[in-house]
């Protein structure tokens, strides 16, 4: 399937170019992050990479802490692949793609210790803040992974806690206090097509890629999460090349925050 497209993409990559004329290690333009796009959310952000558009919103809820971590709050990430964003997406319960996307975003934030869960605790064993991050895709022109992770992080940075009156949340009143963001993990997805590695794939490249690796990197360049996808296997050498490429790509994305 797509053998014609694949050979075309490979032919272009062999001369270091792509279908839209980009270099293999180049992001699409325009790239931007807009903050506070959703008024009803505690924090929100919209990320545009080329024609891909993703909005993330943060809601804060009070939960009872999990029994094994009585003094910690938590985060929850949900992804909605809206049917308007691609002919491939159907309404209904989350598809496997949506679940994977949500998990990758969640893991990037969780494993980088971006948020100090202990600081979210209000009353040990009784009450803690739950950060609910909802991601909606508005257009899927490829690379939803990087866009979603970036949008989630930007939305967290944009978040302001609501007022608490007698232990009840008053959503209409926001305080000046934001979430203490200790680390800014950036996810970069690298695709393997033939012997070539590319970042920021478009739809066509996602169709013909044999493997993908999403790498989450902290600000000091330390690795905090990995997710491999696609049908074919990766060698150790492949993985180290992909991580190097991701590190390079993460600089571009970090500059947007």
């Amino acid at each position: 399937m797509y053998s014609e497209l694949r050979s075309q993409v490979l032919k272009l990559l062999s001369v270091h170019t792509r279908l839209d004329g980009r270099k293999p290690h180049e992001y699409r333009k325009p790239m931007k992050v807009e903050y506070g796009v959703v008024k009803t959310a505690e924090g929100s952000a919209k990320v545009t990479i080329g024609e891909t558009e993703v909005i993330a919103g943060v809601k804060l809820e009070i939960m009872s802490p999990y029994p094994d971590t009585p003094d910690e709050g938590s985060i929850m990430v949900g992804v909605e692949l809206l049917p308007l964003s691609s002919p491939e997406f159907e309404p209904g319960p989350p598809s496997i793609r949506a679940v994977e996307l949500a998990r990758v975003v969640d893991r990037g934030i969780r494993e980088s210790k971006a948020i100090d869960f202990k600081s979210l605790c209000l009353e040990k064993g009784e009450k803690a803040w739950m950060i609910v991050i909802d991601i909606c895709t508005f257009n899927d022109a490829g690379n939803l992974f990087d866009a979603s992770a970036l949008a989630a992080l930007a939305a967290i940075k944009n978040t302001k806690f609501p007022e608490l009156v007698d232990g009840k949340i008053v959503y209409k009143e926001k305080t000046d206090q934001g979430i203490d963001v200790q680390e800014e993990p950036i996810s970069v997805t690298v695709l393997k097509i033939g012997d070539h590695f590319i970042i920021d794939p478009d739809n066509e490249e996602e169709l013909v890629a044999e493997a993908r690796l999403t790498v989450a990197l902290m600000s000091n360049g330390q690795l905090c999460a990995l997710q491999k996808g696609g049908d074919s296997a990766l060698t150790l050498d492949d993985i180290s090349k992909m991580i190097d490429l991701a590190a390079e790509g993460s600089k571009t994305l970090r500059g947007l925050l």
Binding site: M1, Y2, S3, E4, Q8, L12, V15, D20, G21
Partner: protein
């Protein structure tokens, strides 16, 4: 009383009354309501004698018999292929009409046209229920190997082709690409990477600027400036 409410080349929206009275007849893109002629879509008015018609500016492709279109294989069935036509309706390519090669009984049809392949075909029949049949026997009808396909507004296809193919041959000459424009708004091109990109850029430019007069000359200037070649507007037969 007969009265035309619009001028030639006016841009109208659906529901707009173009003329009142039985003195005029509704053409393509318009209909009669009572005694009035009403616009059916967004387009430019063209008054041709007593007929009022619309040249559409937007809208999806509607399959029409005799059109040469570009299709993508989306399903391989027992007796043919199901094709995506860039319209609301899918087309069927029957085994009999598919190729002049011999197809043995029980052969794997994916050997001929596989999922995802692009084909140039001709619409052979469209039923009242919008079941579309296409065929691939005829000059220029073939499977497309390599190259890339882009989707454009199908109402701009005449502009991309130009008068007697003048525009498309201009792009072909400047970019060094082979180009096939389907009536359904899919355009295939193949050449070297820079040529293909130039062709895509030019076609996008035509798509956005086609309503401004002097299009061919503007495109010629643009292509001459970017390639440095001297081009000539030529009509194909």
């Amino acid at each position: 009383m007969v009265e035309v409410k619009v001028k030639d080349k006016d841009i109208v929206v659906p529901g707009e009354i173009l003329a009142d009275g039985m003195g005029y007849v509704p053409g393509v893109g318009t209909y009669r309501e009572g005694e009035a002629i009403v616009s059916e879509r967004v387009g430019v008015v063209s008054i041709d004698g007593r007929a009022i018609k619309l040249i559409p500016l937007s809208g999806r492709y509607l399959p029409k018999r005799g059109d040469t279109i570009l299709c993508q294989v989306v399903d391989v069935t027992m007796n043919g292929w199901r094709l995506e036509t860039n319209s609301a309706y899918q087309a069927m390519l029957s085994l009999k009409e598919a190729t002049s090669e011999f197809i043995a009984r029980g052969a794997d049809l994916r050997k001929f046209y596989d999922l995802g392949d692009y084909l140039v075909c001709k619409v052979s029949n469209v039923t009242s229920q919008m079941l579309v049949d296409v065929m691939m026997k005829g000059p220029g009808l073939r499977k497309l190997n390599g190259g890339r396909v882009i989707s454009v507004n199908c109402n701009k296809v005449p502009r991309i082709i130009g008068k007697h193919g003048s525009m498309v041959s201009l792009i072909k000459e400047a970019s060094g690409c082979q180009i096939i424009v389907g009536q359904n708004g899919l355009v295939w091109m193949q050449g070297n990477p820079e040529g293909e990109l130039l062709a895509v850029r030019t076609i996008r430019m035509i798509e956005t600027e086609s309503h401004i007069t002097g299009l061919t000359n503007r495109i010629k200037d643009f292509l001459e400036k970017t390639t440095g070649k001297t081009l000539e507007i030529r009509m194909e037969q």
